[in-house]
């Protein structure tokens, strides 16, 4: 029983960290640009496919794929923000959702044309494809790696936003765009930079998902984006701390639910979200309006 609980915990943590990586970029973009980027799941998918594509050309080197693939997706993020999204900032939310959803459809089909509609099996990561025995039961090394990567990304983001000059500028523009602009911050350029950074995080999540899920499929971003949205809502839209802990809660809830409350496991997440929306609509770490 103990080994079971430990393993359920570990599985929950790795699921949570996996969702966090995707939700972090979504939250960052919402926090600063106030845009609900539905295409974030698409960046995740593109990150996965490009990582796979690059590593296929670089001698199956996963790390090289992970370094280069998401950077290519950043170019797409740059073009989308610079030439499309920028023109709908002043419009109502539905326009932003519609525009970003259009990119979901376009890139889903692009992936089908470029890589085929079928699913692709992913290669293993050298050094991380095995598993170690924890209390007599195997646990995948790659999942442990995910559990370590999640907090590292969180720490890096926190340091960047709280401890650097750039971070201060971003926070200033996020809390008062006009004032920041009056003080000489080039807000449009900053928005582009933040959007590209968020894109990179989504694509990185996708690249890291390749060996974790073990599979690439067109439309793979659509399932994860729902989890990421739930996490963002529970944690407080725009709050990175909220997204981190929200992801942990959802990960553990899903793992324990599957093991101990199998009849209700699909509802648990949404019950939690409904409860948060009813009693604390700003989320755990969101600021009340």
């Amino acid at each position: 029983m103990l080994e079971s609980i430990v393993h359920v915990c570990l599985a929950g943590l790795s699921i949570g960290m996996f969702i966090w990586l995707v939700a972090s970029g979504l939250t960052l973009i919402f926090g600063v640009l106030k845009v609900l980027n539905f295409a974030h799941g698409t960046f995740y998918m593109l990150g996965a496919y490009l990582c796979y594509w690059v590593l296929g050309r670089m001698g199956e080197n996963f790390w090289l794929g992970l370094a280069i693939g998401p950077l290519v997706v950043c170019a797409a993020g740059f073009l989308i923000e610079r030439f499309f999204l920028r023109h709908v900032y002043h419009l109502a939310l539905p326009y932003q959702l519609l525009l970003t959803f259009a990119f979901v459809l376009i890139f889903d089909d692009a992936v089908k044309i470029l890589w085929g509609a079928g699913s692709l099996g992913s290669p293993n990561v050298p050094g991380l494809s095995g598993s170690i025995s924890i209390l007599g039961r195997n646990f995948p090394l790659y999942s442990l790696f995910m559990i370590a990567v999640g907090p590292l990304v969180a720490l890096a983001m926190w340091t960047f936003l709280e401890r650097t000059w750039w971070g201060r500028i971003i926070r200033a523009s996020s809390s008062d765009r006009e004032m920041a602009a009056a003080l000489g911050v080039r807000v449009p350029a900053l928005y582009t930079a933040v959007f590209v950074l968020g894109t990179w995080l989504g694509a990185l999540g996708g690249g890291l998902a390749v060996p974790y899920v073990g599979l690439l499929t067109p439309g793979m971003g659509e399932a994860i984006i729902i989890d990421a949205f739930v996490v963002a809502v529970i944690g407080g839209l725009g709050s990175l701390k909220g997204a981190f802990f929200g992801a942990l809660i959802i990960g553990l809830l899903s793992s324990f639910g599957t093991r101990f409350l199998p009849t209700f496991d699909m509802f648990l997440t949404f019950i939690l979200m409904a409860a948060v929306l009813l009693w604390r609509p700003q989320g755990f770490f969101g600021e009340a309006k």
């Binding site: 079971s4 393993h7 359920v8 599985a11 929950g12 790795s14 699921i15 996996f18 889903d108 089908k112 085929g116 509609a117 079928g118 699913s119 692709l120 099996g121 494809s129 095995g130 598993s131 039961r137 195997n138 646990f139 995948p140 790659y142 999942s143 998902a209 974790y212 899920v213 073990g214 599979l215 499929t217 067109p218 439309g219 793979m220 659509e222 399932a223 994860i224 899903s254 793992s255 324990f256 639910g257 599957t258 093991r259 199998p262 496991d265 699909m266």
Partner: protein, 427 residues
Amino acid sequence: METKGMTRREFVKAGLLTAAAASLGAGVFKPTGLWAATPTIKGPVKLGYQAIMSGALAGYGEFHKMGVQMAVDEINADKGIAGVKVEVDFRDSTLKADEAIKNARYFVDSWGADFLGGIDSSGQALALAPVMAELDRILMVTHAATEKLTEQQVFKNGIKQVFRISTPTYQDGNAAAFIAKDIPAKTWATISPKYEYGYTCWEMFKQTLGKLKKDVSFTGESWAPFGTTDFRPHINTIMDAAPDGLYSTEWAGELITLVKQANQAGLFQKIKHVMFPVGAAMDVLEGLGQELPENIWISGRYFFLYPADNRNRAWVAAFRSRWNHFPAYVSETGYSTLFALKKAIEAAGSKDTAKVVQALEGMEIDTPAGRRVFRKEDHQAMYDVPWGLTKTDAAFPFKVMGKQVMVRAKECFNRPPFEGAGTKPPF
């Protein structure tokens, strides 16, 4: 999006040709060669085909299309159906029931379909059956597997418009139980899809195996919702139950993910007897490659190496040279659908629904998967698909069935009237 009907350019072209032909005199219009036979029915024969073409399972839609397209081209290059051409329009079924109904109505009401085909999801098939009765068009189901479609909707509710050319859950539940009875495993558990298909297969497997072997028990269940990417909590549940055997009707990408994650967790070292009723699907075999362990029991709705006869070999070769792929089972069922309809329409001498239904009932047809017989009572195609143990074969870059065991359709398919003694195997 496929656009149907004439484009303006085609229209102008046709007009010019007609004018040119008319100026040459009436003799030019006389049909010659293959199309000279006087059509007995008013053409073309139009088939509206829907399958999943978006999202994670979009690959299935592609494979449906390849089989159907090949059949259409072969039929039209020959004499057509009763002398007229066959036309197919494809739509994305999206796996949602309301979308399937919308597509069916579009096909019949707007596009003028004479027949419908396709459907991957059991839920969709069940929802669509009453609509087919209302639209009064034949639907040939090529993938959705729930036995309730043919047992309840066709047999009990009398919806004569629905047929199924693919093997139903009898192959996944009943036939699996016949295999499992000879496996030295006394306890069984499952990780299966958390929807109709998963539930009905596991129930059938338990019922039939329970009758075949008295000392088995079923010790664990873990249900994975559609779209699961992380099976580790499910694998934990099964490792806790520690059964002798694992039975899983996970399919497509989710089966690939399950096997990879089970490999990492060392599940196949702990549980020696594993059965994947739809593990012999091409996307799974190719997606897993060498990562699929040896000696796992797999089956499907068609396996490209069975039957090992000339007809099937020739078909697989033609398919590979045309598409550069091994045929998936939905390619075979889609392909055979066209030839089954052709045979029935030609026998009926009409594309009238009631007449073609009558022709299809009890009809026998030789297809790449072997001889199929459409059972009169429930409109289920009876044909045999083997179960087999996975094995490495130097001729293929993926695992294939090594040792094969055949449980014949007549031994493992439930029999009409489906209720009471002697209707469920063993007979």
